[in-house]
Amino acid sequence: MKISNIQQLNRFKQLIFLVLTVAISTFSNEFFAQGEGLFKAKCAVCHQPHKNGTGPKLFEARKRWEAAGEGALIIEWVKNNAKLRASGKSARANEIFNEYKGSVMTAFTDLKDEEVISILDWVDAQPDPATAAPPTTGGAVTPGMDPEEESALSWIWIILGVMFVVIIMAVGGVRRQLNIATSDQLDVQEKLTYGEEFRAWAWKNRLYVGISTLVIVISLVVGVLQGLSRINVVENYQPSQPIAFPHSVHAGLNGIDCKYCHNSVTKSKSAGIPTVNVCMNCHKQISGEGKPYASEVQKIYAAAGWDPKNGPTGAYNNNTKPIVWNKVHVLPDHVYFNHSQHVVVGGVDCKQCHGDMTQMQEAVKVQPVSELNKIEGNIKLSKPTLTMGWCIECHGAKDVPLGNGKNAYYDEIHRRLKDNDKTLYRKYLKDGKVSVSELGGWECAKCHY
């Protein structure tokens, strides 16, 4: 009896609620816009329409409260959740509170009932991006030709070539046999081997044969020397990577500073590859659901041991495994290169050597010097990237900012040049700057020791 009364009351409340909702939502678009504004101002910090974050998703939150039989209490919850929890009249309030491990929701006592409804109306009208059709171009990496496919293709060419040679030789052999068979001077022809025949032909045309042999020999020598000089020139080297990471999206579209991920660049010899926890700082939220790159994000989750389905917001399961990236810019061990020296002390921008990564959609590659020269503000160089000539050229061209109080070592050099050796200082300044090479940047032991 009593229970049915409560149920009736609840139903009655729901009815009023529904009528109220319908009535209000038909008011005008203005009200709808108000909901959007309020959501973005008050709720968006912790809530998303379709994804659990700091707080649960708000899409059809009303339905969930109604399913729990407390449809009308959601407004009270929004306005002052602590009070509702303390009052004890709502089981769902405490349930949510415990599910989100006690993250306390801010009280919004200044919101009016219809404002809360306008927010929930707006949220319920939002389409789910995960089920919506994935966009055709998501700024994701467009993978090049599959390496396996490529090698299969080259095999086809080789087989075709071999078949071609076989046919030519077969035809040649048949012709030769026919010639021999039809010839009158059987005895003479039969004695000559291929070699003798060729020698006779070469002697007859010795001028042309001589000139063409010379040309072939010279071009071979030049080719071999050129080939040797290309050894260990790694321009355009672009190894495959375990995860298709688009720099254009991270550094370009989303404006993340290079130093956020490569954070040891100012402190250490190596610029650093970010550990997976750095990826997870953003990708805990950005799962790429419904986007073409979702499978790539899943690889991060596998490496970090993150299970997005665990609990309302996902949790770590401690089952981690390393991501094996391929190193792109490899210097030989007999060269010493220090990132922090160049970036902090020398003030060299990343793009001087690595190019404009904000435009780099594919895997990282060693940018050829012609590409580097196109970038504004770069010192223009001519030798191939990552060769010694390239380093030396830049050391000769880059100026060292002396005596500006930023670097005690350079300040001391500046003081000594000024006080002790004015003529040398004047000689240095002939081209208007003190270059790295003038301060010992061309000494062998600067980089080789």
Partner: protein, 244 residues
């Protein structure tokens, strides 16, 4: 008969040579030939180098394993001999050993299960802001903030950085709304992460985090970190956070 055998031999040599050259496909993951591999590859441990093969000796256990290893347990980086500097860089007094629990340390730190976050409210910024170091502190802070925070929190600290503007990330609060947080809690949030924000202790040293704590206070009060002609702080909050 002999001739046909000769021909067959010649022919097979040609075919074999063609096949041999055809087999030379370049490995896209190899950077090519090296002149002197023993001078190119370091036998001592360098970061991000594959030690699966050193000077002809192959070590299968190390092949394709990462060489960027985590530091030994309970060690701290060397940070000079200046005692105030060293004190600033010592392990965080809250959960000092949490960093070594897992490979990267900070997986699954649950702020609600302990009251460390609440206790952190009493932590005092050991990196004192004075009239002398205020200018350099804010310059350093700006540099750090640009590299580490602004892509989400925005250049002006309004929670509208390029990542939020592009729609990739949602839910970044403006600093102006977080005035209730104490210095210790801001430090704690950066160090261990809070809500959707991840832990940043692997990216920032303790000194840098305390610098950022000073810097973000600026977004809440434009007078923060400014001193009058007598060298007294224009804002009492500075005096509070630099006690002791």
């Amino acid at each position: 008969m002999k001739k046909t055998i000769n021909m067959a031999v010649n022919f097979s040599i040609i075919v074999f040579t063609i096949l041999l050259f055809g087999a030379c496909t370049s490995d896209p993951d190899s950077s090519g030939y090296e002149y002197m591999p023993d001078m190119y590859r370091s036998p001592s441990i360098e970061t991000y180098v594959d030690y699966g093969e050193i000077r002809g000796r192959e070590n299968k256990d190390l092949k394709s394993k990462l060489s960027a290893l985590t530091p030994p347990r309970n060690t701290i980086p060397f940070c000079g001999t200046d005692s105030t500097e060293v004190r600033l860089m010592l392990p965080n007094l809250r959960k000092a050993n949490a960093a070594w629990k897992e490979s990267h340390g900070f997986y699954g730190v649950d702020l609600s299960k302990d009251d460390e976050y609440l206790l952190a409210a009493n932590d005092i910024n050991p990196y004192k802001l004075t009239a002398v170091n205020s200018a350099s502190m804010m310059t350093n802070g700006k540099e750090l903030f640009t590299a580490m925070c602004q892509h989400c929190h925005g250049e002006k600290g309004d929670g509208n950085g390029p990542m939020v503007a592009s729609g990739a990330y949602v839910g970044v609060p403006a600093y102006a709304t977080l005035t209730a947080l104490s210095d210790g809690q801001i430090y704690y949030s950066i160090y261990y992460g809070k809500n959707m924000m991840g832990a940043h202790n692997s990216l920032l040293s303790k000194k840098e985090i305390w610098t950022l704590v000073h810097y973000v206070r600026q977004f809440q009060d434009p007078n923060y970190g400014k001193f009058d002609a007598n060298g007294t702080a224009m804002k009492s909050v500075v005096a509070d956070s630099t006690m002791n």
